[in-house]
């Protein structure tokens, strides 16, 4: 299990728990746990793709990873999967119910309520010369330079990883760049492709079939089994795209051992 971004489990100064703690600790007053399967619950924070809701998911995940290492946390846009090894839990503390899990979450939250969960910032270099760049510009009625400027302006957030190991779903795309997915998905989109699908943008960690529009490529290796953690991007990370030219791309790619 990797160390959660920004949450220091050794923080020496936990805030004392207060009876009226919710406003103080930021702990959601209503922890909605839906039983998914034996030993698996879904904690729902909302039902829309929304940066504020997603930020709460990541905060909860970071706090639980720091203090409940036996609970596997899998963030999505507006929900957090909590998966518990039942045999392991029950060997220590009897049958695991939603009430007991809720109590454990509340206790974990109080432990370091004063610690701010700070997300990591990762810069992703992009050579903006993707095969669909012109189509994206035409669809947005912008020049390709404007598309690049608008795509590399925001700070995005990794809402979740999925689809393939290390594939980040990024929140924060300029709505002017939104574009429906291709009606005919490609059989193979190259590794490192930065692409737009609807209101989302993402990065293909390996060559994969896909229906998103490709606007550029990064020389970064996004998923590397020999790295720890294997994924370059973690859930909740802040991401900025830095435009680079072809020469820089090729240089980085050669250094990273990525086939351009």
């Amino acid at each position: 299990m990797t160390h959660p971004p920004g949450a220091d489990p050794h923080d020496p100064s936990p805030a004392p728990a207060r009876a009226d703690g919710d406003a103080m600790t930021g702990m959601p007053s209503d922890i909605r746990l839906e039983a998914l399967a034996e030993g698996a619950w879904l904690w729902r924070f909302g039902d829309t793709i929304d940066a504020t809701v997603n930020a709460r998911v990541h905060e909860a995940a970071a706090r639980l990873r720091a203090h409940l290492p036996h609970v596997e946390c899998v963030p999505a846009y507006a929900s957090l999967l909590l998966r518990v090894d039942l045999a392991e839990w029950e060997a220590h503390g009897g049958p695991l119910t939603a009430e007991r899990l809720r109590a454990a979450i509340e206790a974990a939250w109080r432990k370091d309520a004063s610690t701010n969960v700070v997300a990591r910032e990762v810069t992703v270099p992009v050579w903006y010369a993707g095969m669909d760049l012109a189509d994206i510009a035409a669809h947005a009625r912008l020049s390709t330079d404007e598309v690049i400027a608008r795509h590399s302006a925001p700070t995005y957030r990794v809402a979740m990883l999925g689809f393939a190991p290390g594939f980040p779903y990024l929140l924060g795309l300029d709505p002017a760049l939104a574009m429906p997915r291709r009606s005919q998905p490609r059989i193979s989109v190259p590794a490192g492709s930065i692409a737009i699908g609807g209101l989302q943008t993402g990065i293909y960690p390996q060559a994969l079939p896909g229906g998103w529009h490709v606007l550029g490529r990064t020389p970064l290796r996004l998923f590397d089994l020999d790295a720890d953690p294997p994924s370059r991007l973690l859930p909740g990370d802040h991401v900025r795209f830095q435009p680079i030219d072809e020469d820089t791309y090729r240089q980085f790619a050669a250094e990273a051992g990525v086939t351009p």
Partner: protein
């Protein structure tokens, strides 16, 4: 010592209990489809509980064991011949060095497990020797067996259970597959999913009364259920959230998909049910074309059945170990 793959069979891959702790990075667990069968195969050869075994689908590979080997086959009942001699299923067997092991068709079930004493000595990838075929992660670069592969096996003390080391032999006792292999094909236990209530009333009923068939379009990721399409009473706008092995999703086609060992970590289709963990091995043993019916189960009952199953499994594994101590 090693195992040489002469013919790979339809789909054979190395699997253990799965790769946990990486779902938040987009990598699921993979691992065996029929957990009790895999555990019992390891127990029969005296292995540690989490050794990798070969998961064999429908038609088996032909292998050559380069040294003396103690093996067991559990799960689906597969035709197995060592040097032409039939091997009994669910039984500890001895094969002298160089013996060709031909695994043929499956008489019952869909997946068999071949455990070898000492285990398959492939390097763990992110803590597991499971093959995630979809994510191409795990032993053999995350792919299924191919002809020409040579897979190392671990060293183990010589098993004292066989008198001669020159002939193919089997112990006189084996396990009764009956409690572990789904012969009766009774309905599978399904928890109602979050979006069950969004099905229209006839579809709510049909989910628990209809006979579905396992589609040909099924694999370790999921099992598509052929049958009269199920429908929602009104369209749902959903965003992706976590999915698990056993999640029963309803894509727009109306043909439910039951996610299995290589379930994607997130999905955006309505979640109409969740298969009880105790019944995951049963769906793993159904073949394309086999009938599937569901019956409803409450979480408390699912948990109780899971504990009872795990207790029975642990007890049997202990008894196997005792019996191997004094055969």
């Amino acid at each position: 010592m090693s195992v040489e793959v002469i013919k790979p069979g339809l789909l054979s891959s190395l699997q253990d209990g799965g790769r946990s702790g990486y779902a938040h990075l987009g990598l699921g667990r993979a691992g065996v489809m029929d957990e009790p069968a895999w555990r019992l195969a390891n127990a029969l050869v005296g292995n540690d509980a989490n050794e990798a075994a070969l998961e064999i689908t429908l038609a088996g590979p032909t292998l050559r064991l380069q040294r003396d080997a103690v093996v067991a086959l559990t799960g689906g009942i597969i035709d197995a011949r060592a040097d032409g001699q039939p091997l009994p299923p669910w039984t500890t067997c001895f094969l002298p060095a160089g013996t060709p092991l031909r695994l043929g068709g499956m008489r019952h079930g869909c997946r068999s497990y071949l455990a070898i004493r000492g285990g398959f000595a492939v390097a763990p990838v992110l803590g597991s020797r499971s093959t995630d075929l979809h994510a191409r992660t795990g032993p053999l670069d995350g792919r299924a067996l191919q002809a020409g592969d040579v897979i190392d096996t671990g060293n183990a003390e010589h098993a004292p259970w066989f008198r001669s080391r020159r002939t193919v032999q089997a112990l006189r006792w084996g396990l009764d597959p009956q409690p572990w292999l789904d012969y009766a094909r009774a309905p599978l236990a399904l928890l109602r999913g979050h979006h069950y209530d969004a099905l229209d009333v006839p579809s709510q009923r049909a989910l628990f009364t209809q006979r579905f068939a396992v589609s040909k379009d099924s694999n370790r990721t999921g099992c598509r259920m052929d049958g009269a399409p199920l429908q929602l009473s009104h369209p749902l706008e959903l965003i992706s959230e976590a999915t698990l092995p056993g999640t029963l999703q309803l894509p727009p086609s109306g043909q439910p998909i039951l996610l299995l060992a290589e379930a994607p970590v997130t999905g955006g289709y309505p979640r109409i049910g969740q298969l009880a963990v105790v019944d995951l091995p049963r769906i793993a043993q159904r073949r394309p074309g086999d009938a599937v019916c569901f019956e409803t189960i409450a979480m408390d009952d699912a948990l109780q059945r899971l504990r009872a199953r795990n207790d029975a499994l642990q007890q049997l594994i202990r008894r196997i170990a005792q019996r191997l101590e004094s055969p």
